[in-house]
């Protein structure tokens, strides 16, 4: 059923008792053209664009838990393209362009709100670096503006104007950046992919990747039996190393955890996304009124989805330092997600040394904003067996070639990206 004003009226008259299920729950078939491992945002988007852009409709998405129960449901929902390097900026800008048409494309309201993102600058050096990045953004067709101190404080009056250690010298504003409803992105892609014939199979954990005598991947063993496939795409986020190991691959990835926080709901207080250079702190206000924020990784390898308290303290210190009015708010909850931290802070969307096996991983904590373009580029890579120019640099052997995409210059230390 197409969602429209008419369908809303019709269902409303019937007391909303008659809405059809948004997607099917099919039994797995014996064979598919393409299997995607992981029904998070990236996996679902990949299946959708495979069917929509490349006509590959005999596709299954295998998910060990429930749809969207990983990082796509555990992030702070920020969407932006304020990047620096030629290898990454056009990709993220394409993602932002896809976000701008996504609700219409999927016939599902993903509540994309382009409220603007203010990146605060605290020193002359900060301003110089931001001007350079803003120029890079403009050259690649993204939008960027440099604001001075007065313009910045006028837009976010709750920022402490007298902070002696980190004075506000200005900001880099991206007006087209914003937030989206993370669960709606999952449901929208799932429904749209399902309508194109993609099978979404939940509670089906991949336990092995089968290969033929030539070493090519030919199918997977799962908790619901063997499923054959011509091509297999991995989109397993924090568990990428574990899934890739089933095909004998070792990845330049460490799994780390990142915490996010939400406060009780309050009246409208903050109408932008604001990022603070101190401790990587970022904050926005959700439509329900809660302030959603986060900061640095906990800093050590973990698959636990459980954060540590010292980092809670550090994050809240940064927040109160920036916006003293936050100090009286109560935290509703906080949680941790498992990040696939790559060695240079940049992702992988590529073929692998194993024939028929493709990899989408290494999203660090930038995965949510990348969801549409990641799926779009991964679908292209799988369908055509070659990368799109937008993701041609996101390859596994870039480290061996000395072509790391390390915008921050932090080196091969994943907990510092």
């Amino acid at each position: 059923m197409k969602y429209s004003l008419l369908s809303l009226l019709r269902q409303g008259l019937k007391g909303h008792a008659d809405w059809p299920r948004a997607w099917r729950e099919p039994e797995p078939k014996e064979r598919y053209d393409v299997i995607i491992v992981g029904a998070g945002g990236h996996g679902l988007a990949t299946a959708y664009y495979l069917a929509k852009e490349h006509g590959v409709r005999n596709v299954a998405i295998l998910e060990r838990g429930n749809l969207g129960s990983g990082n796509v449901g555990r992030n702070t929902t920020v969407v932006r393209s304020n990047y620096l390097l030629n290898e990454e900026l056009p990709f993220y800008e394409w993602s932002l362009k896809l976000w701008e048409g996504l609700s219409r494309e999927l016939d599902y309201n993903v509540m994309f709100s382009q409220r603007g993102l203010l990146e605060l600058l605290h020193s002359d050096a900060d301003v110089d670096a931001a001007v350079r990045r803003a120029n890079a953004m403009l050259l690649h067709g993204a939008d960027a503006e440099i604001l001075n101190r007065e313009q910045t404080l006028k837009r976010v009056p709750i920022v402490d104007p007298d902070n002696a250690r980190f004075p506000v010298c200005g900001a880099l504003l991206q007006r087209r950046a914003g937030t989206a409803r993370h669960d709606a992105v999952v449901w929208g892609y799932a429904r749209a992919a399902d309508r194109l014939g993609v099978d979404i199979i939940q509670n089906c954990e991949v336990t092995a990747i089968r290969r033929d005598n030539a070493g090519r991947a030919i199918g997977v063993d799962t908790t619901r039996g063997h499923i054959a496939a011509d091509k297999i795409g991995l989109a397993a986020a924090g568990h990428s190393s574990r899934v890739a190991e089933m095909a004998g691959l070792r990845l330049p990835i460490e799994s780390h955890k990142l915490q996010a926080y939400v406060t009780e709901g309050v009246k409208p207080l903050l109408d932008k996304v604001v990022t603070f250079g101190v401790g990587h702190f970022y904050i926005s206000q959700s439509d329900k009124g809660g302030l959603v924020f986060g900061a640095n990784l906990d800093g050590y390898n973990s698959y636990a989805q459980r954060g540590n308290l010292p980092n809670v303290e550090t994050t809240i210190e940064a927040g109160v330092h920036l916006m003293p009015c936050l100090s009286r708010l109560r935290l509703l909850r906080h949680w941790a997600g498992v990040m696939d931290m790559s060695m240079d802070g940049s992702p992988f969307i590529c073929k692998t040394p194993v024939g028929g096996l493709y990899l989408n991983a290494g999203w660090c904590y930038g995965g949510f904003k990348a969801t549409p373009a990641s799926g779009w580029c991964f679908a292209h890579t799988i369908a055509r067996d070659e990368p799109h120019p937008l993701n041609e640099h996101f390859v596994l052997d870039r480290f061996h070639q000395g072509r790391a995409i390390d915008a921050k210059g932090a080196g091969p230390q994943p907990n510092l990206h």
Binding site: H239, S241, R242, R250, L251, P252, I253, E254, S255, G299, Y300, N301, S302, Y303, A304, R306, N308, P310, M343, F399, H400, P412, Q413, P414, N415
Partner: protein
């Protein structure tokens, strides 16, 4: 999480700095053949879900480098040793 430093006793997490996988072996020499061994050493990780040997430094305490056995799925710490016993932990 608390780590039992062999020199200082059990201390809170905030005093320690994380370095990463302690099982990596630094290749010897720098020949054309050793290039992939070097790039594996610098960039490739086992990234296990379960027991993991890792380097921590007691930066906010005695300064010793430690090898900590820790489970990445449960955060349980099984053992803590000095990285270079006999040299005061090699500061």
């Amino acid at each position: 999480m608390r780590i039992d430093c062999p020199l200082c006793g059990e201390r809170p997490l905030e005093e320690f700095t994380y370095r990463g996988d302690a099982s990596l072996k630094r290749p010897t020499g720098a020949t054309a053949d050793s290039q992939s061994a070097w790039s594996d050493y610098v960039y490739i990780r086992e990234n296990p879900k379960g027991p993991h040997k890792e380097h921590w430094r007691h930066a906010g305490g005695c300064g010793a480098w430690l090898v900590v056995g820790r489970n990445t799925a449960t955060h349980e710490i099984s053992d803590v040793k000095l990285a270079r016993p006999g040299r005061g932990g090699m500061r």
